[in-house]
């Protein structure tokens, strides 16, 4: 009886081995098939071509949007753009990259580094409500404007400027502010001090985009066009 069972088991074992051998042989034949190898190579090339075309199209359609963060949610940031319009920035956990820009240098950061009030530039593809973000840069916002000097405060070093649209802007001249004056004869610019600025002069300035604690704009640099230029 035992012998019969043993023989049956041995037979089944050999049958199993024969089947295994057959499968190994079959799979080996498939992988070593030269036609299959060529088609795999072709598929790889095609995949690379598609990927590069997609990247090229993405680059061509790449658009940018900038504004101040007003709200941060999961996978979504709300910003206010130049025209004070709210835009939605859609985030992709795997795709979106984050950088901060300071002194013309970029540094990689993460989503958790973003906070309300940050000024960001978003590059990606526009949607109906905003943009799908590829890259987000945290940048500094600047105010670049010009106007006529209508008031000078020599104690607190601030100027009241009247712009072309008759808007009044108050700017602080800081210790770090670069001050330049146009020489009306040579049209070259010269370094000056605060005392050289006169009421009635035209002033071109670059200031930080946000008001400081004195409700004035801190200027990075100013360029004075003396009123005498307009009397020539």
């Amino acid at each position: 009886m035992k012998k019969k069972i043993f023989l049956k088991l041995t037979f089944l074992f050999f049958l199993f081995l024969i089947f295994c051998n057959f499968f190994i042989f079959a799979s080996d034949k498939i992988t070593n098939d030269p036609a299959k190898k060529v088609s795999e190579k072709e598929v790889k090339i095609l995949k690379e071509k598609i990927a590069s075309k997609v990247a090229q199209l993405r680059q061509e359609n790449l658009q940018a949007l900038s504004g101040k963060i007003i709200d941060i949610k999961n996978n979504e940031i709300e910003i206010k753009d130049y025209n004070d319009q709210r835009k939605i920035v859609n985030i992709d956990d795997l795709l979106t990259k984050y950088y901060s820009i300071k002194n013309n240098q970029k540094k990689e950061i993460s989503f958790s580094n973003l906070k309300r009030g940050d000024y960001i530039i978003v590059s990606g593809i526009y949607t109906d409500k905003g943009i799908n973000a590829d890259i987000i840069f945290v940048d500094e916002k600047y105010l670049v404007d010009f106007g006529k000097v209508v008031e000078i405060n020599k104690n607190e070093y601030w100027l009241k400027i009247s712009t072309l649209t008759n808007e009044n802007i108050y700017i602080d001249i800081e210790t770090f502010t670069k001050q330049w004056l146009l020489n009306i004869k040579t049209l070259e610019i010269e370094k000056i001090g605060f005392s050289k600025i006169k009421e009635g002069d035209m002033i071109h300035f670059v200031a930080n985009g946000e008001l400081n604690d004195k409700n004035r704009f801190s200027t990075q640099k100013i360029l004075i066009i003396p009123q005498e230029y307009f009397l020539k």
Binding site: Q59, L62, Q63, A64, S66, Y82, K97, Y99, I101, N104, Q105, K106, I121, S123, I135, F137, D139, K141, Y142, V144, D145, F146, L164, W180, L182, L187, I189, M202, H204, V206, Q220, K221, L223, I225, Y229, F230, L231, K232
Partner: protein, 145 residues
């Protein structure tokens, strides 16, 4: 006189009148056209004169387009404005001041990484004319990021 001679004289007179009418008609039409033309010329002259005073070259920036994304740290700014204007191009990175000898101007301008707000202001040589300004926003975002 014969009947045929009378008919010939009668037909000759009729044809003569008809010919005279055609010639006179042509002369009258020519005179009318000349009058109309001279009136049109006068009209044109009176129409042109006020336009001449309005022909002031306003500041236009042909290149680059606003909100452009570039992969280079400099761009060429091309524009047109009244001759001999004092042009000031200012950004947080650079200030450029020059006077344009021709109406068209073309100048290279450096860009900072990220957003570049560029203000272009033109003070015309004729101080009675209005100062003009344009603003462009350019993004310098390198591809290798």
């Amino acid at each position: 006189m014969k009947k045929e001679t009378l008919i010939a004289i009668f037909l000759g007179i009729i044809f003569g009148f008809a010919f005279a009418f055609i010639i006179l008609g042509n002369i009258y039409n020519n005179q009318l056209e000349e009058k109309e033309n001279s009136f049109l010329i006068q009209k044109k002259e009176t129409f042109i004169s006020p336009v001449k005073t309005v022909l002031l070259k306003s500041l236009t920036i042909n290149k680059p387009k606003d909100f452009l994304i570039v992969d280079s740290d400099k761009i060429t700014i091309e524009g047109e404005v009244e001759k001999d204007s004092l042009i000031i191009i200012q950004s947080p990175l650079k200030d450029l001041i020059f006077q344009n000898k021709d109406e068209k101007f073309k100048i290279n301008f450096p860009l900072a990484l990220g957003e570049n707000l560029i203000k272009i202001v033109a003070y015309p040589k004729n101080k009675n004319l209005k100062t003009q300004e344009k603003k462009i926003l350019i993004y310098y975002l390198p591809k290798d990021i």
